[in-house]
Amino acid sequence: MGVPNFPPRLESDLLRPFYDGLAKGELWLTTVADTGEWIWYPPEMVPGRPHATLSWARASDTGTVYSFTRIERSLLPGDHKAEVPFTVVLVEPDDAPGCRVPGLFVSDEAEPACGQAVRLSPVRAGDHMVAGFSPIG
């Protein structure tokens, strides 16, 4: 499979803990600090709670594929022809249902099935790590 090389922009530090987690092979997502409820993607403000803050928590490494697509023509800005094909999955971690993490599908198979069980398997892309998920079993 190909690997897109498009480093996260990280104009703010908001998503840095996500990437720090991947570098350790861990999946960290955001929660509402006072309730512990998962909230993903991290919004600038918690809906309906203007004074609430976010904190980070480690989510389970395992989850299920919500949907996917195999990219054969990359639409990323710049020339990424050499990086296709690759398959993107949207994964719901087992302990954070409804939160979907975009990642690469790491497998000899071209595509997963919706509902398939996967495990976190971060992928090196140039100088950075990105989220990846491989089939379980």
Binding site: P4, F6, S67, R73, L76, P102, L104, C114
Partner: protein, 382 residues
């Protein structure tokens, strides 16, 4: 509640659908606007209202180019994609006309998809996409909607032939439409030769890249009585929305395939006092084959989960019982979001569409999807 039959679309205009236009966005928008005003039998100074799009030029610039000094009413739609130039613009025009602020509202639109960044620039500016989606290559509308197609197939079942039937249907209409961008006939083999972009989407599943201007004129219904063409009345307007903003909706919406199309259809049909079975034809926002298929269900043209069968059975093709996207839609006709579908509806209801004319077309629905917003519009020949 908004009342049916209070406003009419009296003029429509477009510039040719091309790639890499030599005209500027303003030039195309103004040319289309002048054509729409002339089509309504009006002069530019008769226009006393503007509803512009936030991605297009402002009313003062367009008005200046057209020689219109007075702008007693001008507004900008706050929805994107197909929602803005259709249901949102018509709602604002109706409110302004009913309030007595103006008599003839111009809705101008211009788009240059082939400029650098094109339709994707909007998404690449989103910080959450830049940090979470672009690094894994999940980028661009084709990828987002392809994931919807795979999810739809999981929930309801969807064969390659069924998905292809959407593209093939709209192509059949484009073949009958002078000015459509893709007029070469396409069967299932031709569909399969179309290059894959993001599974299951081939190029043929995606809307076109188009540079063009388009515009229409909305008039108080009584003021439209002496217009040169048969009156096309706005009978129903419905707007639906969902909660997640554009930055999150393609991944985090509870269901990525549940657009707010049922809500908009319900409101539009209620206002018009009709139902889906009363329609003679429909123009359905086809950014992609899957989104047209889902909206077809949400409009009520078939049951939930049966959109693939609906298209594969040929119901929306020329001669079918419910023609859809009779100018080729955005996938084979040209992509000026929403507005060209609305213009095609007007032309069909006037009865002048030549080979593609739907016999005795009197009632047409137009849908527009703008990600987290959706518009359904019901138009009727007077």
């Amino acid at each position: 509640m908004m009342r049916p039959g209070r406003i009419a679309i009296t003029g429509v205009g477009e510039t040719p659908f091309v790639r890499a236009s030599k005209q500027s966005l303003l030039e195309m928008t103004v040319e289309a606007s002048a054509a729409a005003i002339a089509d309504a039998g009006l002069r530019p100074k008769d226009i006393d209202g503007f509803v512009v799009n936030r991605n297009s030029h402002a009313a003062d610039e367009i008005g200046f180019a057209l020689g219109i000094d007075r702008r007693p009413f001008s507004a900008v739609t706050d929805t994107v994609g197909g929602t803005g130039p259709t249901g949102s613009a018509l709602t604002l025009a109706l409110l302004a006309i009913e309030a007595g602020l103006c008599r003839h509202v111009l809705v101008p639109y211009g788009f240059q998809a082939t400029r650098p960044g094109g339709p994707y620039g909007f998404h690449s500016r989103e910080p959450l996409k830049a940090d979470l989606e672009m690094p894994v290559g999940y980028f661009g509308q084709a990828a987002y909607f392809a994931a919807m197609a795979n999810r739809y197939a999981y929930e309801y079942g969807l064969s390659e032939e069924e998905l292809a039937a959407v593209s093939i249907t709209f192509r059949k209409w484009a073949v009958l439409t002078p000015g459509a961008q893709k007029r070469d006939p396409m069967d299932l083999d031709g569909y399969r030769r179309s290059p894959m972009i993001a599974t299951p989407f081939r190029v043929a599943d995606c809307c076109l890249m188009t540079d063009a201007g388009a515009a229409y004129v909305v008039s108080r219904a009584e003021a439209a009585a002496d217009a040169p063409h048969p009156r096309v009345l706005v009978q129903g307007l419905g707007l639906g929305t969902s909660g997640h903003p554009q930055s999150m909706m393609f991944t985090q919406a509870p269901s990525i395939i549940d657009y707010p199309g049922r809500e908009s259809a319900r409101a539009a049909f209620a206002m018009a006092g009709v139902g889906p079975a009363d329609l003679d034809l429909a123009q359905i926002y086809d950014g992609f084959s899957i989104s047209a298929l889902i909206q077809t269900e949400q409009l009520g043209l078939c049951q939930e989960g049966e959109g693939g069968r609906f298209y594969a059975d040929g119901h929306a093709m020329p001669g079918g019982r419910m023609p859809v996207n009779t100018s080729g839609g955005h996938m084979s006709g040209g992509y000026l979001p929403g507005i060209t579908l609305l213009i095609e509806a007007v032309r069909q209801l006037r009865g002048g569409r030549g080979e593609a004319q739907v016999p005795d077309a009197r009632l047409c629905a137009v849908t527009g999807l703008g990600g987290n917003s959706h518009a359904t519009t019901i138009l009727a020949r007077d």
